[in-house]
C-alpha cells in the first residue's frame, strides 16, 4: 500500500487530521468497559494486516509531519535528545534495528544496502540519502541514535541493563505525555516511575521490571498506554507546560469533540544485540473524540471507562477538571448497549448508536 503523507501541524493552527483509514486502524486501548493498570504485555510479532501492530515500526500518514515537528522541538531544546557516553553502542544497535526493519517492512519507502560496514540508506518520504560507515560516528551528521530517531515516529528510550535494573541512559523524547528525559536521564526503572499513583502499591512495577529484564533478542514485546490531550499536540512536555497546559481551559461543550483527543501510546520493547540494552519506543497516536465516536463500540466504551476511572488516575492523566464536560459529550454516544470484547472496532457486527 502506498501511504499518502499528510501536510499538517501539531501546533499553532493544528491542521492535524486522521483519514478514515487512520481512524479505523487507531489503536483503541480498552479491551473492556473499564480500565485499571496491568502489565498487559504481549509478544510484538506482527498483528492483523493493516493494523498498527503489523510492522515492527509502524509508518503512517503522519510520518513526514511528525518528523518536521520533532525537528522544531529539537531546534528549540536540544536536551530532548541525550545519550550518556556508554550508550553509543546501543545507538548503533538501534540504528541497525530501525533501518533493517523499515527497509524490510516498507521496501517502497526505505532501502538499506550493506557492503560490510559501508552502508547506504535511502529514506524516500523524507528525501534522505546517506552513505556512511557503520560504527563510525564521524560519517553521520548526528550520533547514531539521534540520526535514526529523527527519521522514526515516536519517542525512544534506550535503557541500559545492569544490576538487575534498567537505566534511562539515552533517549529521543519530543512527543511525550508530560515527562522529561532531561529530568529522568540516568534514573533507574523505579525512580522514573515514582510519580505514578497506585501502581507501586499494586506491585505492578516489580512484575513489569522482571518481565522487561527477561526480554530476549528476537522476542520483542508490546503494550498500550493512554491519556487525554487537548488539541493534537505531540509535544506535551513539562518543559513547555506553560504553553500547552493553559489550552486545557479552552474546552467548551461546542468545541470539545474536535479539540479533546484520546492519546494512545504503542509501547514496544526490543533487546539490542551488541549492547544488551533495551530500547523502548513509545509511539503516540492521537484521535479527536468526534472521530473516535464514529466507531459506535469505541464511543460507548470510552464513556464508561472515563466515567468509572478512579479520581487518582484522572488527576494523574491531567483531565480531572475537564472530566464532567468530557462525560457530557461522551454520554451522547453511549446508548447503554453491551459491547463486544477486545479492542477492535467491529464495525460490521456492533450496532450503530440507537436514537435517543
Amino acid at each position: 500500500m502506498t501511504i499518502q503523507f499528510n501536510e499538517e501541524t501539531f501546533r499553532d493552527d493544528y491542521t492535524f487530521r486522521n483519514s478514515d483509514w487512520a481512524i479505523k486502524r487507531f489503536p483503541f486501548p480498552f479491551h473492556e468497559d473499564s480500565y485499571m493498570y496491568s502489565v498487559n504485555m504481549e509478544q510484538h510479532q506482527g498483528g492483523p494486516a493493516g493494523s498498527v501492530f503489523e510492522k515492527r515500526f509502524d509508518v503512517d500518514e503522519h510520518y513526514v509531519a511528525e518528523m518536521k515537528d520533532r525537528a522544531l522541538v529539537l531546534a528549540e531544546d536540544p536536551l530532548r535528545c541525550q545519550s550518556l557516553p556508554h550508550m553509543t553502542l546501543a545507538g548503533w544497535d538501534l540504528l541497525e534495528l530501525i533501518m533493517v526493519s523499515k527497509s524490510e517492512d516498507y521496501p517502497d519507502l526505505f532501502e538499506l544496502h550493506r557492503d560490510g560496514n559501508n552502508w547506504h540508506w535511502i529514506n524516500r518520504p523524507m528525501g534522505i540519502e546517506q552513505k556512511f560507515v557503520f560504527m563510525d560516528e564521524s560519517t553521520l551528521p548526528y550520533g547514531p541514535m539521534e540520526y535514526i530517531t529523527r527519521q522514526a515516529q515516536g519517542d525512544f528510550c534506550v535503557l541500559d541493563q545492569r544490576d538487575d535494573n534498567l537505566w534511562m541512559d539515552a533517549g529521543m523524547v519530543t512527543t511525550q505525555a508530560d515527562w522529561s528525559l532531561d529530568f529522568d536521564i540516568g534514573m533507574n526503572f523505579f525512580e522514573w516511575h515514582a510519580p505514578v499513583p497506585k501502581a507501586h502499591e499494586m506491585g505492578i512495577f516489580v512484575r513489569a521490571l522482571k518481565f522487561l529484564l527477561n526480554i530476549q533478542q528476537g522476542m520483542p514485546a508490546r503494550r498500550l498506554n493512554w491519556t487525554m490531550t487537548v488539541n493534537p499536540l505531540l509535544d506535551t512536555s513539562p518543559e513547555n507546560y506553560h504553553k500547552w497546559g493553559v489550552q486545557k481551559t479552552t474546552l467548551t461543550p461546542e468545541n470539545l469533540g474536535a479539540k479533546q483527543h484520546l492519546r494512545v501510546e504503542l509501547q514496544t520493547f526490543f533487546r539490542l544485540p551488541r549492547s544488551n540494552a533495551l530500547v523502548f519506543p513509545i509511539r503516540c497516536y492521537l484521535i479527536s473524540l468526534e472521530d473516535l465516536v464514529t466507531v459506535p463500540k469505541w464511543g460507548r466504551r470510552l464513556h464508561r471507562v472515563i466515567r468509572d476511572l478512579p479520581v487518582e488516575l484522572a488527576t494523574y492523566k491531567g483531565f480531572i477538571d475537564n472530566r464532567p464536560m468530557i462525560l457530557d459529550y461522551l454520554a451522547q454516544h453511549d446508548d447503554g448497549l453491551p459491547t463486544s470484547d477486545g479492542i477492535w472496532p467491529d464495525l460490521a457486527t456492533e450496532p450503530p448508536l440507537s436514537p435517543s
Binding site: 556508554h86 545492569r162 544485540p273
Partner: protein, 321 residues
C-alpha cells in the same frame, strides 16, 4: 510467556579438539543466513537429542560478537556429569543438524567501566573470549587473569597471549602460580569493573575479597552456570497440568517436565537467572536446592524450587505447573 527464547536451526561445521578435556564446535545457520549479532558474555542453549533423552545445556558464545557467519562454543568433558558434555564430545560430528537458542546475556559488560578486569578459571575463559573481541573492536581497556591447571589444559592461552601480550596474565596450578588477588584488586584505577567466571570456589574467593576491600557490589560481576547433577530418581505431581512424572537419575526436573509435554519457562538452565522459579504446592521429603537464585530462607521455606538444577528426595512433591 512462552518457554525460553527463539530457536535457530544450525549445522555443525567443525569439531576441533582443543586439548584432552575441551572440544570446540562451530555452528552456521542451516538455511545459510546470518546469525544474530550478540554481546560479549552471552550464551546459547544447545539442544541435544541423545536417543530418547533430550538435554538443553547452556554454553557461552566465544566467537566474535560481530561475526554473523558462525558461532563457536567450547565444551569441557565432564565424565561424572549427566552426559551432555559426553554427548557433545562423543556423538556430535561435522555436518550434524542441531538446534540452538538465540543468544541470551546474563553476564554482560558494564559499558560504563573505565577498565574491565577479568578473572577466569579453566573453561570459565569462554565468555571472556567474546568480550575481549568486543572490547578490542571498541578500543576498550581490559586485563585478563586466567588460571589453568597445567599448560596442556590451558585452552586458548597461546591465542590470547599472542594477540594481547600486555593484557593477559596466565597462572598454572601445577607450577604453584596463584593470582595475587589482594594486590591485584588494590592496584586498580577508579571506575574498574571486575568480572569473574570459573569454579564456584574462585567466584566466592573473588567476590569475598572484593567486598572485604570495599569494592561496590555493582562493580563485581560473575557468572557460574551449574550443570544439573545426577541424583536419585523421584516422582512429581504437576498440579496445573494434572500429570504425574518421573524424574530419572540423569535427568533434571526441568527436563522431566518438558519431556511430559508441559511448557515451562527457562533461560539459563544453570540455576542463575530465576526464570524457571516454580511454586511448591505440597511436599513430604527433602529438597536438594542447588541454585544461586533463591535466598537461604526461601530454600528453607519449602515453597519454591528451581527445577533446572535442584532435585528432591522423599515421598511426594506437588508443583504449581
Amino acid at each position: 510467556m512462552s518457554a525460553g527464547t527463539n530457536k535457530i536451526a544450525v549445522t555443525v561445521t567443525d569439531v576441533v579438539p582443543v586439548n584432552e578435556l575441551v572440544k570446540r564446535f562451530r555452528f552456521v545457520r542451516a538455511d545459510g543466513g546470518q546469525l544474530p549479532t550478540f554481546s560479549g558474555g552471552a550464551h546459547t542453549v544447545v539442544e541435544m537429542r541423545d536417543g530418547d533423552t533430550q538435554r538443553l545445556n547452556p554454553y557461552s558464545l566465544m566467537s566474535d560478537p560481530m561475526d554473523q557467519s558462525a558461532y563457536t562454543i567450547s565444551v569441557r568433558r565432564d565424565d561424572q556429569g549427566r552426559g551432555g558434555s559426553l554427548f557433545m564430545h562423543n556423538k556430535v560430528r561435522p555436518g550434524d543438524a542441531m538446534t540452538i537458542s538465540y543468544p541470551v546475556n546474563l553476564f554482560s559488560l558494564d559499558l560504563r567501566a573505565r577498565k574491565h578486569l577479568m578473572i577466569a578459571g579453566g573453561i570459565g575463559i569462554t565468555p571472556f573470549l567474546a568480550q575481549i573481541k568486543q572490547l578490542t573492536a571498541m578500543n576498550g581497556r581490559f586485563e585478563l587473569h586466567y588460571a589453568c591447571r597445567t599448560p596442556a589444559l590451558g585452552s586458548y592461552v597461546d591465542e590470547l597471549t599472542a594477540k594481547h601480550p600486555n593484557n593477559v596474565h596466565v597462572y598454572y596450578d601445577d607450577q604453584g602460580q596463584v593470582i595475587d588477588l589482594e594486590h591485584l584488586l588494590d592496584g586498580q584505577p577508579l571506575g574498574t569493573h571486575i568480572y569473574v567466571c570459573g569454579p564456584k570456589g574462585m567466584i566466592g574467593w573473588v567476590r569475598g575479597k572484593a567486598a572485604e576491600l570495599g569494592w561496590p557490589r555493582e562493580a563485581v560481576h560473575y557468572e557460574e552456570f551449574l550443570a544439573p547433577q545426577p541424583g536419585k530418581p523421584f516422582e512429581v505431581k504437576l498440579a496445573v497440568s494434572n500429570k504425574v512424572i518421573q524424574v530419572g537419575e540423569n535427568q533434571s526436573l526441568l527436563e522431566a517436565i518438558e519431556a511430559a509435554g508441559v511448557d515451562a519457562p527457562y533461560l539459563c538452565r544453570g540455576g542463575a537467572c530465576g526464570q524457571c522459579e516454580t511454586d511448591v504446592i505440597g511436599y513430604d521429603g527433602k529438597f536438594i536446592h542447588r541454585d544461586h537464585w533463591l535466598e537461604d530462607d526461601q530454600k528453607a521455606g519449602g515453597r519454591k524450587i528451581m527445577p533446572c538444577v535442584s532435585r528432591f528426595e522423599g515421598k511426594t512433591l506437588v508443583l504449581d505447573r
